[in-house]
């Protein structure tokens, strides 16, 4: 590990030095000015589609659960018991081990008033933190990046081929989206990178329109290519990750963390949680992918010596209805658990499970506003001005040791 780490550092340093003579390379300058080592990193994992919280952290101590989940209930004998009321879905063995190692905090019943049951609307609320500005839509993490004193263009990185999450949108900064670490490796296709850069960024004073947007992204692509060029070749040596898409993304995050990238927020998404029909098997598969990848990721960080400075935060746009539907699935619901994982968390359950009888339109009522979670992450983990980012103060949660 040490050898790999040293090599990464030296290769980045040399590629930076070569390029410093070039054109305003903000990233490279900041990389040369000192590594951000020791700064806290937040990894956000979005479960898209509305994860069934009730079959993830299972209130097996309440008969109402079994009464409403006639075919989908997980029998007590199969689930992974956390205490005499809660159990994890049997596919979440990875989470169970993290729970035993005191690295998993489960915040129960997270939601917001007047729940919106549209995927897109609810996801937008989670992304913007209910801050509706009609002209420029910004996300909670995008606004966080705007508060940072110097622009590196690598404040936040999104791994995935889906559109960049609104959460990262900022009025002043642009986040980077990557498919893989070799995305920006210079391929020789007859156009030198220097000439491409000249062509792609030739316009001046064009900042708000589509051309300005294109040009800004071209500039970022150029900078990222300079920076990522060597790292892409080293991905194969990562630790033992399962062969899944989520694990692949988290292993790339880990590679960049190990390489002391100045990035402090990473964003990955996993789709498929919209389980309206025959959810049993598909949900089990999704949770297995989630638990196993999270465990491998945290183990990898531990081995690197970065366990203390990285936090994994897992959320979904809503939970699902208590009563299952006639297609052996569940419809869109409201409150659901979110997960915070890492060496620094205060492991355990935060707040009681929402009541299964005091419902709102058939759905669980929230006990924790998701903006309390954001406030705590921003203020206590990223050491940012949470009030400025969220528009007001929220009651913090007891998430950290």
């Amino acid at each position: 590990v040490n050898t790999r780490r040293t090599f990464l550092k030296s290769s980045i340093a040399s590629s930076s030095l070569i390029s410093l003579s070039g054109w305003a390379p903000g990233i490279l300058r900041s990389a040369a000015n000192g590594s951000p080592h020791g700064e806290k990193v937040l990894v956000v994992l979005q479960l898209s589609g509305g994860n069934d919280g009730l079959n993830t952290v299972i209130p097996y101590g309440d008969d109402e659960y079994f009464r409403n989940r006639f075919t989908l209930a997980i029998p007590q004998s199969n689930l992974l018991q956390l205490d005499n009321y809660h159990g994890l879905h049997p596919s979440l063995k990875g989470f169970e081990r993290l729970w035993q190692h005191r690295k998993l905090s489960i915040i129960q019943g997270v939601g917001y008033p007047e729940p919106n049951r549209s995927h897109f609307e609810s996801m937008d609320l989670w992304h913007t933190a209910h801050q509706n500005t009609p002209s420029v839509r910004t996300g909670w993490l995008g606004r966080w990046s705007s508060t940072l004193p110097t622009e590196t263009q690598l404040e936040a990185i999104h791994f995935g081929t889906e559109r960049q999450p609104l959460a990262l949108a900022s009025a002043t900064r642009t986040a980077l989206s990557l498919r893989s670490l070799d995305t920006f490796r210079n391929e020789s296709d007859g156009l030198s990178p220097e000439l491409w850069k000249r062509i792609a960024t030739a316009r001046v004073n064009e900042d708000s329109g589509l051309l300005g947007y294109l040009q800004k992204n071209a500039g970022m692509a150029w900078e990222a290519s300079q920076r990522l060029d060597r790292i892409g070749q080293l991905t194969a040596s990562g630790s033992k990750y399962p062969q899944t898409e989520l694990a692949r993304k988290l292993s790339m995050v880990s590679t960049l963390i190990e390489a002391d990238f100045p990035t402090r927020v990473y964003y990955v998404a996993m789709d498929g949680f919209d389980t309206h029909a025959n959810q049993g098997e598909s949900h089990a598969g999704l949770l297995k992918e989630l638990g196993d990848a999270a465990e491998a990721f945290l183990d990898d960080l531990q081995q690197q010596g970065n366990g203390e400075r990285v936090l994994l935060f897992v959320f979904s746009e809503f939970g699902r209805r208590l009563r299952e539907n006639a297609s052996r699935g569940t419809d869109h619901g409201a409150a659901a658990p979110v997960f915070v994982l890492g060496n620094q968390v205060r492991a355990g359950l935060v707040t009681r499970h929402p009541s299964l009888t005091d419902l709102q339109g058939g759905d669980l009522k929230h006990r924790v506003d998701y903006r309390q979670v954001y406030w705590t992450l921003l203020h206590q983990w990223l050491k940012a001005d949470a009030k400025a980012i969220l528009g007001r103060d929220y009651d913090p949660l007891d998430l950290f040791r």
């Binding site: 995927h119 897109f120 609307e121 081929t161 156009l191 000439l195 792609a200 006639a326």
Partner: protein, 471 residues
Amino acid sequence: MNQNTIQSIGSNLSKERAPSCLDDIDPAWAWQAYHPVTDSPWNRRRAAHLLRRAGFGYRWSEIEKAVLDGPQNSIDRLFDFSVNQSFDEAMETTGQVVASRQDARQLSAWWLLQMSQIPNALEDRLTLFWHGHFATNADKVQDNRAVFSQCRQLRRLCLGSFAELVNGIARDPAMLIYLDTTDNRKTRPNENFARELLELFCLGPGNYTEADLQQLARCFTGWEVRTGRFHFNPHQYDDGVKSIFGKRERFNAEMALGQVIAQPACATFVVRKLVRYFISDELQLSEPLLDPLVKEFRSSGNAVKPLVESIFRSNLFFSEHAMGAKIRSPVELAIFLLRVLQVDFNMLQLVGQLESLGQLPFFPPNVKGWEGGRSWINAATLLGRNQLCRMLVRKATKDPRSIRHLFPHALLQEDSEVFVDRLCELWLAIAPPEESKRLLIEGSERFRSQPQQRVAETLKLLVSLPEFQLG
């Protein structure tokens, strides 16, 4: 054209030159028919704009013909599909064979081939629009015949009435499978289809309540898919009284769909989305601006063809508000090059590339379809788009004969300044800045005496311009 129209065009020319004053667009002017005047002449640039938006791309000769024929005749010709007939028949047969195979990506390749070669591509342009609107993902459907037949249905109805489209898609097996409503029982109706119908297909958020939605869901009980076909199961149908949009009646599914489409929000929702698709990603489409078109759409019984025709014929369509005001989708970008360069390319390879750029037909990211606009672009996709374009140019310019076939002899004889100008005019909606143009001219000059390398070098640079990302 009467005198008033001319005056109204004249009075709006200043606005046309300043697209930033978006609030100033006069709705009446916007939707009046465009007639060439000095400040917005009918020329190669506008002809190319029309053929790009209505059809993906064009041959050199098609632009010259459109310039001679004028806007009215050129637009008339967009709706003449008789030229497609024999091609359509051949593709239908091929499509059925491809749909019987396991791999749905072959079906994507089939459609891309059709888009790149069909003589008149407007139907495919619209089918792609409706496919994004009534998004269905083949990975989840796991029945390629159903996916194929949905695509054919959308294509058949693409210019018909919106009500017919919605009624067709409501009973479409691929859609029902995609939305998990293949087995919808009255005791606990599955809400998914009703939700997407209101939110994404017909009205948009904010135009219905959760109660409307739950009542509507009851109307679709008893709907099933059996052995790949739509099936109504009367035993599972809830025939009770439902209360939808303030009306209490024993609504069945067909009546309920009629109620939804009759909502005032529906026409505005559909018109806005089509205007966005054909005119501009970011223009503020306020209700007053859309109003004339919405009224026309309603009074035609929600007919799509007259709506699309009005959009193409309008002042707004040919104004600077629209020229280059859209970021090309990955499919539009690739099909443009395949059509203008007439390059023979392995479509299965293209499938992989388009997938990584974020738009593969039959594989929309979710039920909302492709968001479009700026969401197509980030640092990674921009680089990938550039690489794809340069690869297609490289392939197309390898053969000296194809160069002579693609470009008129006279053009290849022009000096570099004219040569570059002409290519920019045809390939770009917005002229590049002088510095970029100079780089293109330098590239062209380097191979002044070798036509093949000259075209290859100039086009390679041209497709790398940010302006080329706009369509």
